[in-house]
Amino acid sequence: MTGTEEMIKDLTRRVEKLLAEYDPARTDRLEFLRARFDAGLAWVHFPEGLGGLGLPRELQAHVDRLLAKAGAPDNDPRRNGIGLGMAAPTILAYGTEEQKKRFLRPLWTGEEIWCQLFSEPGAGSDLAALATRAEWDGEYWVVNGQKVWTSGAHKAHWGILVARTDPEAPKHRGMTYFLCDMRDPGVEVRPLRQITGEAEFNEVFLTDVRIPDEHRLGERGQGWQVATATLMNERVAIGGGDIPREGGMIGVVADTWRRRPELRRPDLHARLMRLWVEAEVARLTGKRLRQKLAAGQPGPEGSASKLTFARLSQQLSGLEIELLGEEGLRYGDWTMKRPDIVVFTGKDAGYRYLRAKGNSIEGGTSEILRNIVAERVLGLPPEPRVDKNVPWKDLPR
């Protein structure tokens, strides 16, 4: 029996034990989730005592499968994407023992939802330019500033926050990372409406928000390093999973083409076929990337996949409107709403077209990603920098 097989057998036993002690049919959802966490079956690659068992990450799928089969509740991971995908690994990497104990369990169970307070109006692609100040008043860090593009801020209990603690230092060296209680009276959340009419995101205004020093994550001045770790976890998440042929936007357009022969025109067919080829090749490229990762050949090519995804979703959704013709003049609903979950291919063609515009901006603009590919993959010279060794306070803004 190989090591993996043994580990799987052991995990199966642990799952059976959990199910025996906490029958999902008769146990309160939250109670079950807490018990699952305490049994180390939340995220098996986390350490023991912190929801895991120190096992390889891939084995989680086995646990999930067994529990789903038994009808056990899950932690509804889409409700807390930032918590699970970004906050948790960062807390694990940089947190104190107390912080890990305090935050990871309610994060995983979904009792505490998290949001991300990084971007600012003046610090988008250039995150290190951020201006939100955190000043130590002897008792608390007192935070003032404005954050933006914060999804879920209105539902979040905690926010991962980067703020400037030393304006005299060069921009990358004067920041500190905090865990910010979103229920502090100084936190004001305002929905940020987008071109689709919806407000997926928020602006967050921070006025004399008080953060105790035990909610500082990492060292003072280490904020850039901690934030970079968070963002690397974001990029991993964007890579996404396997999708079938015609998954995503191409499937929507191909489906319309098949169902509605009256819309077909030769010029649109030429464009459709070109995009079908590109979409299928992009899918295979993603598949190849995941095969490389699985074979232990990680690479920075995730940026390439995101570039292609953004371009294709924009071109396809633009084509769809031309294909629909008269129907393309309509729109589903302009009413301001706060969606819980965003599905790029959901809703109507107009929504898809407008929402896709964000694909080349959010999570790293296509321009920044091209820089990354050029510099880190191809080894071309970096952009001339004028802001590396200047105190932040002296930089022009």
Partner: protein, 367 residues
């Protein structure tokens, strides 16, 4: 094609532009326009009154003998550039260009007086997507009574008078229907600054203003004029997007540098500039050919629409992208231009439809 057409702006045209622009700058701020998306009032009625009445734009294309200014498509195109630049929610294109052209070509100039005076507004009741060379969508006449719905009509919500193509046994007719006699259903539109509506004229009283070939000619001339001159609106949209993006990138800083100094963005803006100047040549040529009633008019119209429709969309898309996150927000006006550009791309025939029309006109058959 005519090699002697003037593609520049005359002094008269520049002065028309100045007066339109200064009025729009005062009365058509994007913060007001965006209210239309939430069903609010953007002051669009008063704005149109001012443009039609104070500036006399409703009378531009109406012949002098019918109380109009007897100006040409050249002046109208300059007006449209400015209306595009402000995504102005007014029925100039639908009433003062398309419906007016239909009536003039139908020989019904005597009906133009109230339009020229800005007292009435008219709309041609066909889908906004109708191209000049396709089949003409029409309602039917059951005995004497109209029956049917014209879908996705632009300008219907603002109209007092509807011009309705009617298919009869004797051929196409163009009827005049009072708007209050039709059931007009507003549609939630991608571009709420030119909201479309379904127009059900079943049972409405109507009188024919043209019949047979004359009716067909009138509708086609109206659509071709719409296609030709909307190119100028698209130019205006593209120009605003370019100007606004360049201005923003001259002040926005990231990584300690003016963002407009990053070469990749400079090159994209240079390409955008080249495209906008090309769109200008195409739009000007279409307007000049129309004004001169040049035999190349159909080619000029489809050429301009094929080129400018895509140019406006691309300019608006680049505007959003190069603004970064702020361009994705409701509070920045860029989205108004993207929605207008994308809806305009479908209006009066997509670029693909105009390519097909050009293929016929210039003898480059598909097969």
């Amino acid at each position: 094609m005519s090699e002697d057409l003037n593609l520049l702006y005359t002094d008269v045209e520049e002065s028309v532009r100045d007066s339109v622009r200064s009025l729009l700058a005062k009365r058509c701020a994007p913060e007001k326009v965006v209210a239309l998306y939430d069903g609010g009032d953007a002051g669009q009625r008063e704005l149109w009154q001012a443009l039609a009445g104070e500036l006399g734009l409703a009378a531009l294309l109406v012949p002098e003998e019918h109380g109009g200014a007897g100006a040409s498509a050249r002046e109208a195109s300059v007006v449209l550039e400015e209306l595009g630049r402000f995504v102005a929610p007014v029925p100039f294109l639908t009433s003062a260009v398309v419906a007016t052209t239909a009536l003039v070509e139908a020989g019904a100039g005597n009906l133009l007086g109230p339009l020229a005076a800005g007292e009435q507004t008219a709309a041609l009741a066909v889908p906004l997507t109708t191209s000049p060379d396709g089949p003409i969508p029409a309602v039917t006449a059951d005995g004497g009574a109209l029956q049917g719905t014209a879908t996705s009509v632009a300008g219907a919500l603002e109209a007092d008078v509807l011009l309705v193509p009617v298919r009869t046994e004797g051929g196409l007719q163009l009827h005049r229907v009072p708007a209050e006699a039709a059931r007009i259903t507003p549609l939630t539109s991608l571009d709420m600054t030119r909201q479309i509506a379904d127009v059900d004229v079943t049972g409405a009283p109507a009188d024919a203003v043209a019949e047979g070939e004359a009716a067909e000619r009138a509708v086609r001339a109206a659509l071709e004029t719409g296609a030709a001159l909307m190119a100028s609106e698209q130019l205006g949209v593209a120009q605003w997007c370019l100007d606004t993006t360049v201005a923003y990138l001259k002040v926005r800083r990231q990584f300690g540098r003016i963002v407009g100094g990053f070469q990749a963005l400079k090159h994209r803006l240079a390409d955008l500039y080249v495209m906008v100047e090309s769109a200008r040549a195409a739009a000007r040529y279409a307007a000049a050919a129309l004004a001169a009633d040049d035999p190349d008019r159909p080619v000029a119209a489809s050429l301009a629409q094929a080129y400018c429709a895509d140019a406006a969309v691309l300019a608006a898309e680049e505007c959003i992208q190069l603004h970064g996150g702020i361009g994705m927000t409701w509070e920045h006006p860029a989205h108004l231009y993207l929605k207008r550009a994308k809806a305009d791309q479908l209006a009066f025939g997509t670029p693909g439809a105009h390519h097909a029309r050009l293929a016929d006109l210039v003898d480059l058959p598909a097969a």
